[in-house]
Amino acid sequence: MGIKLYSEPVLEKPELICSWPGIGRIGVLAVDYLRRSISAKELGEIEPWDFFEPNKVIIKNGLIEQIVFPENKFYYQKLNDRDVILFIGEEQPSDGTNPYASGEKAYKMANLILDVAEKYNCPRIYTSGAAVTQVHHTQKPKVWAVPNNDGLLGEVKKYENTVLMSGGEGASAQGSITGLNGLLIGAAQKRGIDALCLMGEVPYYLQASPWPYPKGAASVLEVLAANLGITIDTIPLLEMAKKMDEAIDKFLDQLHNEESVPVELRNNIKEAIDKLKETHKSKGPITDEDQKRIMEHLDDFFKRGEGGDETRS
């Protein structure tokens, strides 16, 4: 079990930016978009055997050609102001019941990533994911930031469109960051490496949806680009976000007209979601009970689209 590096480039104090799939695929969308924008090159990978099950086999004419595992790859690029290493994981190591990393394997993976960070003297690590909030999907998502030491707080406060999980704008100073996004900045703290988790907002009513949320990814990307001192054309990402907005509007209309749901409940859901358009800035009056009730129904609605048989060979 370990890291396999394809090359040994000389990098000047690169910043490490990591992502894994999660709600709205915000982290992966942002970091993969960055990878393509800066034409990052492959640096290496974490060997998958101890972390993941294979998800595909290719058998041709009776011969096994390949077994495919979720990829966990490092990329790098030398930029004008600073160099960068990216890490994109296709899956989080889990116990099979939870899609987010936890336990010994997750900690092992976090430490393998930190080994690469130390090998290249990375002064800073970013992780990126989603913050489920009462934002409306038509609003520009903010970025919630959590640094792993007090020394970073002053810097983070200066970021555009960013909220610290430390009060203000209705944010709570308490909370947790699930999976490797949280674990990695925690393990980095143990090794004395500065780290920061950037989370793009995603509307709470979409947290169970299987859709990507590019608008949240664009917000994260803006913060990352500013910190790296680069300009990134986010127009394609925002165009994708516009299409998603249309799909979300259509979905909410469909839900509002769903006859199997009592009319009163449908109207309440619509009203509660519409209310977010005006109320997000002050973390408005939607109650936790309202949120729970809406989510219970939306979960059912999303699950209807899931299922299907699996075949193996």
Binding site: V57, I59, G62, S313
Partner: protein, 269 residues
């Protein structure tokens, strides 16, 4: 980890073939094939893989009114060229489990080949002959076994545990093949003795064993008789099976009706 593999004795092997059977596969194929192979070599258990780390041990499964503790056992008998591994499919830490098995295979047994057996549920009539599909991890072994009329499998999708095993074997340069005899889908829960005989006939010939097929032949005959009675009693079932005998597939509803009716009938008779 250190004592995951227990060896109770050191049988004398001479680069044996290792045959891996799963105790929980479709059509009770693993159990039937293992019983016949083990009986043919008068085999006994000489080692096992500890279940800790590989199975959820929060209790014990009860099946057929009996508690069933997960097992992964190695067997040897009166042939130096054959070892058997009979196991439940591990629920956890698949890579580690397979690594232990392959370590045993490579360093203790010094096995020359690995065979795994699993079932390929198929729209085949119980009266028809069964194809034996195969997946090899090396072209040399594929060429060596060309005369046995395997059908080469093509597949791109989710991997079976067998595929994972032979792929890891390939990385260690251990020749391996997974065999997939066709099992009639409507016999997948009650057992398909004809499918078992197909794969056992191959081993009988390849390894020059003296497998006693009399019990299996009786099972096939009895099964055929029972299903012939069902066909006489039920025209719809007769029609479905006749359709399969003509190599024509059934739709999903027809398959479900046939499987349920056959299950109920065989369980009651």
């Amino acid at each position: 980890m250190k004592h995951a593999v227990n060896l109770f004795s050191s049988p004398d092997f001479d680069n044996p073939v290792l045959i891996v059977n799963w105790a929980d596969d479709t059509g009770h194929l693993g159990q039937t094939v293992f019983d016949h192979l083990n009986s043919s070599i008068n085999g006994s258990n000489f080692g096992d893989i500890e279940p800790v780390n590989f199975f959820r041990l929060g209790g014990v499964q009860v099946s057929g009114a009996v508690a069933r503790f997960p097992f992964s056992k190695l067997y040897s008998g009166n042939r130096k060229d054959l070892a058997l591994f009979f196991t439940n499919t591990p629920q956890l830490e698949h890579y580690e489990f397979l690594s232990h098995l392959l370590d045993t295979c490579q360093y203790f047994l010094k096995a020359k080949e690995i065979f795994t057996i699993n079932s390929s549920t198929s729209q085949v009539a119980h009266t028809s002959s069964r194809r034996l599909l195969a997946v090899f991890n090396q072209p040399d072994l594929q060429r060596k076994l060309r005369g046995y009329q395997f059908e080469n499998l093509d597949w791109e999708g989710s991997p079976a545990f067998d595929s994972y095993l032979i792929w890891l074997g390939k990385k260690r340069n251990i020749p391996a093949v997974s065999l997939w005899p066709e099992v009639a889908f409507y016999l997948s829960s009650t057992g398909d003795p004809r499918a078992a005989k197909t794969v056992l006939s191959f081993f009988n010939r390849y390894l020059d064993l003296e497998i006693d097929f009399s019990g299996l032949d009786r099972q096939i005959e009895e099964r055929d008789k029972k299903l012939a009675s069902l066909r006489k009693e039920n025209a719809q079932i007769d029609n479905f099976i006749r359709t399969l005998e003509m190599d024509i597939g059934l739709n999903e509803n027809e398959q479900m009706t046939l499987a349920k009716t056959v299950d109920d009938y065989l369980n009651q008779n």
